[in-house]
């Protein structure tokens, strides 16, 4: 297609613009909502139903004991993480917002939008009536994003800058975990890591995503391998894991593994849970990626072979980039469900957001605040999942350039 012609089309003498249809509000109502007696009755009944529902919700929301949220906010977000160590979490957040800002400054586009959002949100949050200390910490996040942004903006002229950035992103995951958890010898290890509230959902999801994605890609390639042994192992793994519910695997990891492994090998419960969710999601990831691989026409392999690319180069340069692009929606959908699946950690005594809230509900002082807490949990999860799907749509759009 001729791109320039499509963009700046001007109408010649004998060409006409397409007719514009204007529909008045009343006609729209008549056509869509009151086109027949039956439709008119349905419209009225559902309007009454919705209004009653909204009134009830509004009445409850006004009288609800929302104070349960701010009073327990620290518990919900980071659980029993000791207050004197909370600077570690802030430092982690600073590091990440710095990296996001830097990427926004050097690359623009989506990353710039995200860094703007962080900066704005941190300013807005700082206006809310938190303690002075907390406000300071929050503002610092906006500041580190800004510093990152400026550095990225001016650093991008150096050729190596973007490479260094990618390296820092890769390093950020282990550094984050070391900071938050502590590392023997350098930083004291923080105890009680099985009750860290929302932080556990986030860490669980990030670790799960970061590990299950590459493992899933390898499994997908393995399932299509020409070597029967590899194909068999990968297929068996995928099919077995996909046949068992995650909760079952989690129970197995928490209880059965203890029985099977020698008594001196006792991996931490949280680590076992994260390994399980990774293993589980990798199988689904593999099937998503395989779907993308199957959609790549044979001609792409032939063309890559004909110019002399070997198998490894053909896969990494030609096939995988196209296959992954095709399945971005499916992959992001899976990331979203992975994030929500981390609430299942609660059933093996890892108190993430959902289950730490249940311990608040059980507290006499906060009796009867079930709905308030569930609404809060719902909003937190919705925000996180909607952001992921928004980011995925943006990525799809930006990769759609020059698509066939």
């Amino acid at each position: 297609m001729d791109e320039t012609r499509k963009r700046s089309h001007t109408y010649g003498d004998d060409e006409l613009p397409p007719p514009i249809e204007r529909i008045p509000v009343l006609r729209w109502l008549k056509e869509n909502l009151f086109s027949s007696w039956f439709n008119a009755i349905l419209t009225v009944v559902f309007t009454v139903f919705i209004v009653v529902l909204l009134l009830g919700l509004g009445k409850w929301a006004l009288g609800a004991r929302w104070e349960v949220i701010p009073a327990n906010l620290k518990l919900l977000l980071v659980g029993t993480y000791p207050l004197e160590d909370i600077w570690r979490i802030w430092t982690t957040l600073y590091l990440i917002s710095f990296l996001v800002g830097s990427a926004g400054g050097s690359r623009g586009g989506l990353m710039r939008q995200i860094s703007m959002t962080i900066a704005i949100v941190s300013v807005v949050l700082a206006i809310l009536p938190f303690g002075l200390m907390t406000r300071g910490w929050i503002l610092g996040m906006g500041a580190s994003t800004g510093i990152g942004f400026l550095l990225g903006h001016f650093g991008k002229r150096f050729r190596r800058y973007k490479h260094i950035e990618i390296g820092l992103w890769v390093l950020s995951l282990p550094v984050t975990i070391m900071l938050v958890n502590g590392i023997s010898g350098l930083l004291p290890v923080v105890e009680g890591r099985n009750s860290w509230g929302l932080m556990l959902n986030i860490i669980g999801a990030i670790v799960g995503i970061a590990l299950s994605f590459p493992i899933g890609i390898l499994l997908a390639l393995g399932r299509r391998s020409e070597l029967p042994a590899i194909r068999l192992i990968c297929t068996a793994y995928i099919e077995i894991i996909r046949g068992v519910p995650l909760i079952t695997l989690l129970f197995m990891a928490s209880i059965m593994l203890q029985l099977l492994l020698p008594s001196n090998v006792r991996p931490d419960l949280l680590i076992r849970a994260m390994m399980t969710i990774t293993a589980f999601e990798a199988a689904y990831m593999a099937e998503n990626v395989r779907g993308g691989l199957q959609a790549i026409p044979k001609g792409q392999y032939e063309a890559a072979n004909a110019v002399g690319l070997n198998k490894l180069l053909t896969t990494t340069l030609i096939i995988m980039p196209q296959a992954l692009r095709l399945v971005i929606p499916a992959i992001v959908g899976q990331f979203i469900s992975l994030f929500m699946d981390t609430t299942l950690f609660g059933f093996i005594a890892i108190l993430e957001l959902l289950h730490i809230s249940r311990s608040i509900m059980g507290n006499v002082q906060w009796r009867g605040t079930i709905f308030e807490l569930y609404v809060f949990i719902g909003v937190v999860f919705w925000l996180a999942c909607y952001s992921m799907s928004y980011i995925s749509r943006r990525i799809e759009k930006s990769l759609g350039v020059g698509e066939r």
Partner: protein, 250 residues
Amino acid sequence: MSTNNNEGIIILRDVHKWYGDFHVLRGVSFSMHTGEVLVICGPSGSGKSTCIRTINRLEDHQKGQIIVDGIELTNDLRNIEAIRRDVGMVFQQFNLFPHLTVLQNVSLAPFWVLKMKKSKAEEIALQLLERVGIPDQADKYPGQLSGGQQQRVAIARALAMSPKIMLFDEPTSALDPEMIKEVLDVMKELARSGMTMIVVTHEMGFAREVADRIIFFDYGQIVEENTPEDFFHNPQHERTKLFLSQILDY
């Protein structure tokens, strides 16, 4: 280079191939010397595409011998990779890499396979795009180009590996009529520059003007092998005469 270059840069001896029970190639033998332009024509399903695809091992043959530039094609991966570096191929459906720009399509193989410097690979790519007449499209994606432009990019991509032999598998069959000429012009220029070429095509005008030799295929066999002059004016076999009458009458 190799000891038996005087025998020919491409040698096929009694090549057979089966798809399951279907006997596609039934004893194909021919040889070519450097700089020759060979046109292969014949009805569809006659095995002509399969035949040239065995030359860079996109298809394997089950019997017989194929020797390209002194290297015999076997299952040995090193031989296959060596031959693919020396043999460029242009496909009916272009098969450009849709996620890469035109410049990246052309410079990819020199950079990754020949381990050229990126700047050098891009310089060569730009020269080749100039040669096929589309230097101004370098930063576009294949999906933004017309069919004729895409096929010329595909030719440039194959040439970027500085091949000794170029294979064309019905390069104009998927093109709109008005774009066929621009592709044939590029191929003509390539033939004049001394490139060894095998072209599977139905473009009889091209065959008449450019080919040194024409091979006519039917039922997986070479029915007739002739100079363009004799092929068109003095065909030997009834099958060739029938084919020519059907294809040239319009």
